[in-house]
């Protein structure tokens, strides 16, 4: 692959759990191109979330490197990592993780302001982003007034606030029913296709995998297999 956006090289991650050392990743190598939609698939403990956390700069590896746009983010200090997460990465969490005291639009605005948008332009951009995920009319509602799917879509809008090169989704449908899950996946898929955002989606749900350009199966901290799909399935065709 020429000039991949992300290059994981010999990535290892060990955790000390008392006297036991857990090997979450055992020398993972992976290249991801710009605009690709990758699904990391695997059972619990296979290393998929660890990979996502390392690529997102939420965690540091025990060994190896993560190159994003040619820069090794594992060498970043805390300040640089914060900037990296702010400017290049968007996160979608399993539990939505919205700020409970901010409305839907304010949650998006909050992320916009981190990159210096001023009040009025941030507010109107937040509405645009909510429009993209189909929640413009719910802009002034607090998280507690939104359904799980709506909350997750707000979190997608927030993740996209700063035009991230990379959207990292950790079990984004794990807490949602099928119908809402479809809506969320569609929103992610649209962004990938329309905005060209590179997406890494972690799931243990094999039914979701066919929507990806590539399916990376992990097992015991290593890549088990990679399936390239020239014609990924439409979200509407997915069933679980």
């Amino acid at each position: 692959m020429n000039n991949p956006l992300i290059l994981c090289r010999d990535l290892t991650r060990q955790y000390k759990m008392g006297a036991v050392t857990v090997h979450a990743l055992r020398g993972l190598n992976l290249e991801i191109a710009t605009g690709e939609f990758i699904v990391l698939l695997g059972p619990s403990g296979s290393g998929k979330t660890t990979t996502l956390n390392l690529v997102g700069g939420l965690d540091r590896p025990t060994g190896g490197a993560v190159l994003v746009g040619g820069e090794d983010i594992t060498r970043y200090n805390e300040k640089q990592l914060t900037r990296y997460r702010r400017e290049q990465v968007g996160f979608v969490f399993q539990f939505f993780n919205l700020i409970p005291t901010l409305t839907a639009s304010e949650n998006v605005e909050f992320a916009l302001k981190l990159n210096g948008s001023n009040g009025r332009s941030a507010a109107s951009r937040a509405l645009e982003l909510l429009d993209i995920v189909g929640l413009r009319e719910r802009a002034n509602h607090f998280p507690a007034e939104l359904s799980g799917g709506e909350q997750q879509r707000v979190s997608i809008a927030r993740a996209l606030a700063n035009h991230p090169a990379l959207l990292l989704c950790d079990e984004p449908t794990g807490n949602l029913d099928v119908k809402t899950g479809h809506q969320v996946l569609q929103a992610i898929r649209d962004l990938n296709r329309e905005e060209g955002t590179t997406v890494i989606l972690v799931t243990h749900n094999t039914a979701i995998a066919p929507m990806a350009d590539r399916i990376v199966r992990l097992s015991d901290g290593q890549i088990d297999s990679i399936t390239v799909q020239d014609e990924p399935e439409l979200v509407a065709e997915l069933a679980w």
């Binding site: 939420l58 400017e87 981190l114 507690a144």
Partner: protein
């Protein structure tokens, strides 16, 4: 108890060790305050009682003009009389080393061994020794102030001459634990009043009295005797010898001041720990409740696994019990030595010879009950509500959903603040339960700090007010024989005297309805300038004095329920007279009343204008000389400099300041623990939210700034209620501290409000710092997944 639960309890402590330690600290402070203050009050009281009992403190003292020594035998023969000591008392002057005269009292004792009544403790040296040079025992406070030791010479002024006496020893007397010459002297006067004990014959010879003549009998009564009857019999026996005064133990000047002091201490010793314990109780309830509530999903899990409600309750009660027990042990262990320290400091200050410190098992038992009840109750409420939840419900708790509900309110729509300002405001206003509990901690911190600070301030402001604004004289003279205008004109003619104003001071009794109140009446000229009456706005001294009008101290008027226009009878040594209450004046001394000098003269049997006291304003350079000249006037009983009175009072207030200093440390310690716990829990409850912010690119300092902004908002919201409640509690304390003699008006300096407020803000910001650091070091990958 399930061993696993025990292990979990221990691990819960480890996981939240800082908050647990802060809770234990709060309980410990409450218990320590209770044990130390109530214990030291009991110790002090038993120390006085023991001192009085051991030294045979007189039950009554009878002063006569002159009586033969043998009358003492007549008194001893009375049923109900245990012991009698006849004495010869001569009030005279004393020349300090720099030549300045002060008051002195020579007390002639009939034997060269300890008297039967009012015995002395010889702190240094020995009792009177035989020898060619007359020897004396010097009162301990006076000796201490002027560094007098056995072998030195003391110099009373007798018949105008300075007479050197060798000091045989330093004596501590139950009569002078607080040195006060007479009932009329409201203030202690250790530095301006020398008490010297001498053999009776020495006093007789030095003062030219007849042999075997005495003028005072100190009497000890049998405990079973009917005191009134025996006293009446004694008075009858002494009547032929011109009985002048009968002073019962309760009215004895030192004892009266001491009892006032102890009464004030008792009030504070009961009230302050009560406030601290109450604050501790509510704080533990709130904070422990928050800790238990934060574990609601765990409760759900325990129940889902099959543990019953009672198992869950027992587990959290164990958690509360451990906090209570550790707090109890620390509190009792800290409180007992602290009680001893307070008692010994107090006793040392007053030279109380027989200090008694005890271990009070009942206090410990009460502490056990208080601390355990406190923590069990605090743990029970939240544990019970958590345990009652259906397991699924308890496990599903998500702060994002559970804590915030509702639409944007009107205020939020009206105030289009930028997001950076809206967020901290929302976090405070919409997380109501969290904000209320944190706010309660902040308000308590305000109350604790402000109530003690108010006592410091009030005392200092009141002292300044009294000695600068009210008392405008520099020197005062009291005469034991009435003086006339010739003396006044003479004094006014002296070099260095700027102004001199006559006063008449009389101990009188106010009669109103069934109530009697012994007070000190001061008669002044209505236009006088030396004692500025602190009248309500609109009243002037010239309007409220004269025409049989009387001005009462505000505290006295409140105590007797009197108002302007009420009638009152004044019982004086010369007869009764009706007066109309015209106004009130704010005075340090509660028992002060004022009339015009003309009204007072109308009562007196003397045909001419007379007075028995003088207020003088003098040139600073002439103070010593004028003081000496006043002493040499015939009939002068005492001369005092205002600054000496001020210093004596300040010395007495050392005890107050010691007590308040201890309270201040308690208040600060508890306020810090409260703020630390409240702010820490506040941050830690939101780990996931803050971790999410960091995940999406919020920097560490932005997180710190946001938490700081929230704390500032909380502080602003608590500012007014905190200050108001702090002031209200201080008012209650002021009331409790005020006695029949002194009234303490609660005033808090504006700077104290500012320092308290800023101090609390600073403490909040510092207290939040460890939690902020913890959030900023969180494993984001983990923290963003944790539900609660």
């Amino acid at each position: 108890m399930n061993k696993l639960f025990m292990r979990k309890t221990l691990r819960d402590f480890r996981a939240s060790w800082a908050q647990s330690v802060a809770l234990m600290f709060i309980v410990a402070l409450g218990i320590a305050a209770y044990v130390a203050l109530v214990g030291s009050y009991r110790d002090l009281k038993s120390s006085y009682d023991r001192t009085y009992e051991t030294l045979h403190f007189a039950d009554a003292t009878f002063a006569v003009a002159e009586a033969p020594l043998a009358v003492a035998d007549e008194l001893r023969a009375l049923a109900g009389v245990t012991a009698v000591t006849p004495r010869l008392i001569r009030d005279t002057g004393y020349e300090l080393p720099d030549g300045e005269p002060i008051r002195a009292r020579l007390i002639g004792l009939p034997q060269t061994t300890q008297p039967d009544v009012n015995q002395l403790v010889i702190a240094e040296g020995q009792f009177f020794s035989d020898g060619a040079t007359p020897t004396s025992l010097v009162e301990a406070h006076f000796a201490d102030i002027y560094g007098i030791q056995p072998g030195d010479a003391v110099t009373p002024i007798i018949n105008g001459d300075s007479v050197p006496l060798r000091v045989a020893g330093i004596g501590i007397s139950p009569e002078y634990l607080i040195v006060s010459p007479s009932q009329q002297d409201m203030f202690p006067s250790a530095r301006t009043f020398a008490v010297l004990w001498l053999p009776l014959t020495t006093v007789q010879i030095l003062t030219g009295s007849n042999a075997d003549v005495v003028n005072e009998f100190t009497v000890l009564l049998d405990e079973t005797a009917v005191a009134d009857t025996v006293i009446r019999q004694i008075q009858e026996i002494l009547q032929p010898y011109e009985l002048e005064t009968t002073i019962l133990q309760t009215d004895q000047p030192s004892n009266a001041l001491l009892q006032q002091d102890v009464a004030g201490y008792k009030e504070l010793a009961n009230m302050m720990p009560a406030i601290i314990l109450l604050v501790a109780a509510i704080s533990v309830y709130v904070l422990l409740g928050r800790m238990v509530r934060a574990q609601q999903p765990q409760v759900g899990l325990m129940k889902a696994l099959g543990y019953g409600t009672s198992d869950v309750l027992r587990h959290y009660l164990l958690f509360a019990l451990v906090i209570g027990l550790v707090g109890l042990v620390l509190g009792v262990c800290g409180g007992i030595p602290l009680a001893r320290w307070v008692t010994s400091t107090y006793a040392q200050e007053l030279s109380i010879p027989f200090v008694q410190t005890q271990f009070y098992p009942d206090l410990v038992m009460q502490s056990v009950l208080i601390s355990l009840a406190l923590c069990l109750l605090a743990g029970y409420g939240p544990a019970r509500s958590a345990a009652r939840l259906a397991p699924a419900e308890a496990m599903r708790i998500d702060p994002a959903v559970a804590l915030v509900n509702g639409r944007q309110n009107f205020l939020e729509r009206m105030l289009p603040l930028p997001l950076e300002m809206r967020l901290p405001l929302r976090n405070v206003l919409r997380m109501r339960r969290r904000s209320l509990t944190t706010g309660l901690g902040i308000v308590f911190a305000f109350i604790l700090v402000l109530m003690v600070w108010a006592m410091f301030d009030s005392m200092s402001i009141f002292m300044d007010q009294n000695f600068e604004k009210v008392e405008r004289w520099d020197v005062t003279a009291v005469f034991d024989k009435p003086q006339n205008n010739a003396t006044l004109e003479l004094v006014r003619s002296w070099d260095g005297v700027i102004a001199a104003e006559p006063i008449i001071q009389l101990p009188v009794t106010l009669l109103t309805g069934d109530e009697r109140e012994d007070v000190l009446l001061t008669a002044v000229q209505p236009d006088q300038q030396m004692h500025a009456l602190q009248l309500p706005e609109g009243d002037t001294a010239t309007a409220v004095l004269g025409d049989n009008q009387i001005v009462l101290s505000q505290a006295l008027a409140e105590e007797l329920g009197l108002h302007a226009g009420d009638e009152i009878t004044v019982d004086t040594p010369f007869g009764k007279q009706a007066f109309t209450v015209s106004s009130t004046t704010k005075e340090l001394v509660s028992t002060a009343v004022y009339v015009s000098i003309d009204d007072a003269l109308a009562l007196s049997p003397f045909p001419m204008a007379i007075f028995n006291g003088l207020y003088l304003q003098v040139e600073p350079s002439a103070v010593s000389r004028i003081k000496a000249d006043l002493y040499h006037l015939p009939g002068t009983a005492s001369v005092a400099r205002k600054t000496d009175l001020y210093n004596d009072l300040l010395e007495m207030l050392n005890l107050f300041y010691t007590f308040m200093g201890v309270m201040f440390l308690f208040a600060l310690g508890m306020a810090f623990a409260l703020l630390f716990n409240a702010t820490t829990v506040n941050v830690l409850e939101r780990q996931r939210e803050l971790a999410t912010m960091r995940s999406i690119g919020t920097s560490n300092w932005q997180i710190a700034a946001q938490i700081t902004a929230e704390n500032v908002v909380l502080w602003l919201l608590c500012l007014v209620p905190g200050l108001l409640l702090g002031y209200a509690v201080a008012l209650q304390l002021g009331d409790a501290f005020s006695s029949e003699l002194f009234s303490l008006d609660i005033t808090i300096a504006p700077t104290s409000y500012v320092i308290t407020s800023l101090g609390i803000l600073l403490t909040m910001l510092l207290a939040a710092w460890p939690a902020i650091r913890r959030v900023n070091r969180l494993n984001l990958a983990e923290a963003t997944k944790v539900l609660v």
